[in-house]
């Protein structure tokens, strides 16, 4: 027998809903979360997650590291820690940042509960309801609920194969200024963008920090994947170009484990101090156990070193990326485009504008394969014909088979559209590497704008009677 009180449906709704803050009306969980829940079924090849492959971490090492924590720091690991983080992990962060040619002191760091908390704390510190945040279009889908929770007015600026379009950024900032709307910060993922897979070019990095500096705007540089580069030369981080207006967000999630839930922020001192106060309110401190674990890992006397492990991940992910690119060329129709990431975890594919990838996901799930529909990466309903494909979370065979299945349903829909519109011959595989897309300025599309066309189909204003 349950000891719960009897429930009344109407009262349930009213008594809770009446207590909800206004911000919950704009808080959204990721689009189509119920569909996404289905992607976790065992029988589904999921190219939807953003998961690093933690199966490569040796269980023996894990046990030994935890043994070290128990032997050397048991009581402290089980205790609260300082809000700004433990020294032991801060030294690791200094090493990781040095690997990307950044120099920081430990007192310039705020250890956080994952990189996600940096986004949250920056919003908490800088945003009043209605304040403008500028970000890329598409943007990291996980940042959207955070922006919404703080009732931000999110303005998205197109990116192309060279990342955020700084010319469009300047135009946007000019327009916002004319409208009397001053953005608080620009959120960007410069390296191997999630979801777009593209990397901000060196010239645009300089442009971006120049714009931020001239206009005295903050830039939140989210760099979870910077060390996962599979080709090309590393580019300087925004933080290394400008420490005055850049807030840097790092994480151990992709180079070690998302399960440790540890990230960090580096920010101008007054901003960092406010973020520290914000973090006190959120969770007092990040997990001490995790911080000692990471400390033990970085300081382990025997190889492999943390750099060796990252190198092993790079080898695995590079192969998986190549397998996915080959599979896309083999199985996706010529009407599709996709990006060629030099690192990171994601490829962004864009289909003809008459295909809605949210609906396509429903169809793909019937064939036991999943991806993230593109609309999750926009706040304004755009992205309906794009999808994010992850190549780090599953093995090479699963990637090949998953892309084959998605390609099949895409070609099926392209062919059906051809039948409906009398456009024969549609849907044949491309057979060569896809064009780079995401609004590539060098290859403008003759098609009508995706968003306006889709908007007509998706939503119809309804007048309410009475």
């Amino acid at each position: 027998m349950s000891s719960k009180h009897p429930r009344s449906t109407v009262r349930d709704i009213e008594r809770y809903a009446a207590l909800f803050a206004d911000r919950t009306k704009v808080m959204k969980s990721s689009a189509m979360r119920d569909l996404m829940a289905l992607t976790e079924r065992d029988d589904v090849i999921s190219l939807a997650g953003g998961l690093p492959d933690t199966t490569t971490f040796p269980p023996d090492s894990y046990a030994s590291l935890m043994g070290t924590v128990a032997a050397q720091s048991c009581a402290r690991a089980l205790q609260y820690g300082p809000t700004e983080g433990l020294q032991v992990v801060k030294h690791c962060i200094v090493d990781v940042m040095a690997a990307e040619n950044m120099t920081v002191e430990t007192d310039e760091l705020l250890v956080t509960t994952g990189g996600q908390q940096v986004i949250d704390l920056v919003c908490k510190t800088l945003l009043d309801p209605g304040d403008v945040v500028v970000t890329e279009a598409p943007t990291y889908p996980g940042a959207v609920p955070t922006f919404c929770a703080y009732q931000a007015d999110v303005v998205q600026v197109t990116l192309d194969r060279d990342g955020l379009r700084t010319d469009e950024l300047e135009e946007t900032l000019d327009r916002l200024e004319r409208e009397g709307r001053r953005p608080k910060f620009i959120y960007t993922v410069p390296n191997f963008h999630n979801p777009a897979g593209v990397t901000l070019s060196l010239a645009r990095r300089h442009e971006l920090v120049r714009i931020a500096s001239e206009r005295e705007l903050l830039v939140l540089e989210d760099n979870p994947y910077g060390l996962l580069r599979y080709e090309g030369e590393p580019l300087p981080t925004l933080y290394s170009l400008d420490q005055e207006f850049v807030i840097y967000a790092g994480t151990f999630s992709k180079i070690l484990s998302p399960g440790v839930r540890l990230g960090w922020a580096v920010a101008p001192a007054p901003v960092l101090a406010k973020m520290n106060i914000g973090k006190q309110a959120s969770d007092l401190c990040s997990s001490s156990i995790s911080q000692y674990f990471v400390g033990a890992y970085f300081n382990a006397p025997q190889p492999p070193s943390w750099e060796d492990y990252v190198r092993s991940l790079i080898d695995i992910y590079r192969r998986r990326r190549d397998v996915m690119l080959d599979a896309l060329a083999e199985h996706f129709p010529r009407e599709a485009d996709w990006t060629h990431p030099e690192g990171g975890l994601f490829i962004w594919a864009t289909l003809p504008d008459y295909i809605d990838t949210t609906d396509l996901l429903a169809r793909a799930l019937q064939d036991h394969v999943a991806f993230v529909p593109g609309r999750a990466a926009y706040v304004d309903g755009r992205g309906g014909s794009s999808m994010r494909l992850n190549f780090s979370g599953v093995g090479e065979d699963a990637i090949r088979e998953g892309v084959r299945r998605i390609g099949e349903v895409v070609r099926e829909q392209v062919a059906l559209y051809g039948t409906l519109t009398g456009t024969p011959g549609a849907g044949t595989p491309r057979g060569a590497e896809g064009r780079w897309l995401v609004g590539a300025p060098t290859a403008p599309s003759a098609d009508p704008p995706v968003d306006e066309e889709l908007a007509k189909v998706l939503r119809l204003p309804r007048k309410r009677a009475g």
Binding site: M1, S2, K4, P6, R7, S8, T9, V10, R11, D12, I13, Y16, A17, F20, T24, K25, K28, M32, R33, D34, L35, A37, L38, R41, D353, Y354, I355, D356, D359, L360, A362, R363, L365, Q413, L416, Y417, T419, L420, T421, G422, E453, L454, K456, V457, L458, R459, L460, P461, R462, K463, R464, A465, G466
Partner: protein, 315 residues
């Protein structure tokens, strides 16, 4: 007290909704003193039912398999009593096209429509008939899969150019697609619950989305995203007519014990149109059927108790 197996989850796109419905049903049954076994419906369904050997199965599934008679047929074969409508009613109600044909034949107003399967377009050149359909229905046109619930896959086409993409989207969910005249107006839900074997309409619920222009998937299942008005503020004659139509549809399709009928009250004409009947309406905390029961003075536990009692074999 009875041994009740609550069937929930499954593989349909409405799995999460079903899990929520199922969890609430389990609580209510436990509250009533029944012995509850929860079954997340999958490949081992038969084995798990055999192991549980329930007196009755509470079908808290939504969408294909659970609501279209598939699971009901299996329960018939296994000789296990189950809640709600029988196989034939589920089969007809879950297929919006079959249900609308039945309604139209019986003189129950439903928005004008045409329905096609993929073969019609691929093999029979149905695309060439689209202009005729469009002129018959007038824009805007609603395009939706024939057998999907919770507003998944529903698109609006405002011009002929929108129709092909809307059809492609709707075919993502099933092999049959419905093109329907769009009725602008108010969303009404009439819940039917049998009382002493007589189908009785419960107070009508009107769903008013707080933000979205259209009562979509998110606004259906997130608390605070939709304002529910129950009883809906309607002229008594309109409410009576809606209840009468809903009851007629319920009887026409041969439903049992409970169901929910969705209607539109057209803004310009004041006419009522029946859209569909849900043989297993949602039982989540934001679902319309439990709200209607509550407004009639029937709490959730009592509601679930009545549904189970109706299914239990006579002692």
């Amino acid at each position: 007290m009875a041994k009740v197996a609550v069937l929930k989850g499954g593989r349909s796109l409405e799995r999460q909704v079903s899990l929520k419905s199922g969890a609430r049903v389990e609580d209510a049954l436990a509250q009533l003193g029944h012995q509850v076994t929860a079954i997340d419906v999958g490949r081992d369904l038969v084995a798990r039912l055999e192991a549980a050997a329930p007196d009755v199965a509470f079908v808290a599934l939504h969408g294909p398999d659970g609501e279209d008679g598939t699971v009901q047929e299996l329960l018939e074969v296994m000789g296990i009593a189950y809640t709600g409508s029988r196989v034939s009613a589920c089969t007809r109600a879950a297929d919006k096209v079959l249900a609308k044909h039945a309604m139209r034949a019986d003189g129950i107003p439903t928005p004008d429509f045409f329905a096609f399967n993929e073969t019609a377009f691929k093999e029979l050149g149905a695309a060439q008939a689209l202009p005729k359909i469009e002129s018959r229905l007038q824009f805007p046109i609603v395009v939706k899969p024939s057998s999907q619930g919770s507003a998944l896959g529903i698109k609006f086409a405002r011009t002929p150019d929108d129709v092909p993409a809307a059809l492609v989207a709707a075919f993502s969910y099933g092999r049959k697609v419905l093109l329907e005249r769009y009725v602008t107006g108010r969303d009404l839900a009439v819940s039917i619950l049998e009382q002493d074997g007589v189908p009785t309409a419960l107070p009508i619920v009107e769903a008013v989305p707080e933000q979205e222009d259209f009562y979509d998937f998110e606004s259906r299942y997130e608390i605070g995203r939709t304002r529910f008005v129950c009883p809906a503020e309607l002229e008594p004659a309109v409410a009576e007519r809606a209840s009468e139509l809903a009851t007629r549809v319920y009887e026409l399709l041969g439903c049992s014990v409970f169901a929910r009928v969705d209607l539109m009250l057209e803004e310009t004409t004041g006419e009522l149109y029946t859209l569909e009947l849900n043989p297993i309406p949602g039982l989540t905390e934001t679902s319309l059927f439990p709200q209607a029961a509550d407004a009639a003075g029937i709490g959730f536990d009592e509601l679930i108790g009545r549904i189970v009692d109706a299914a239990l074999p006579a002692a």
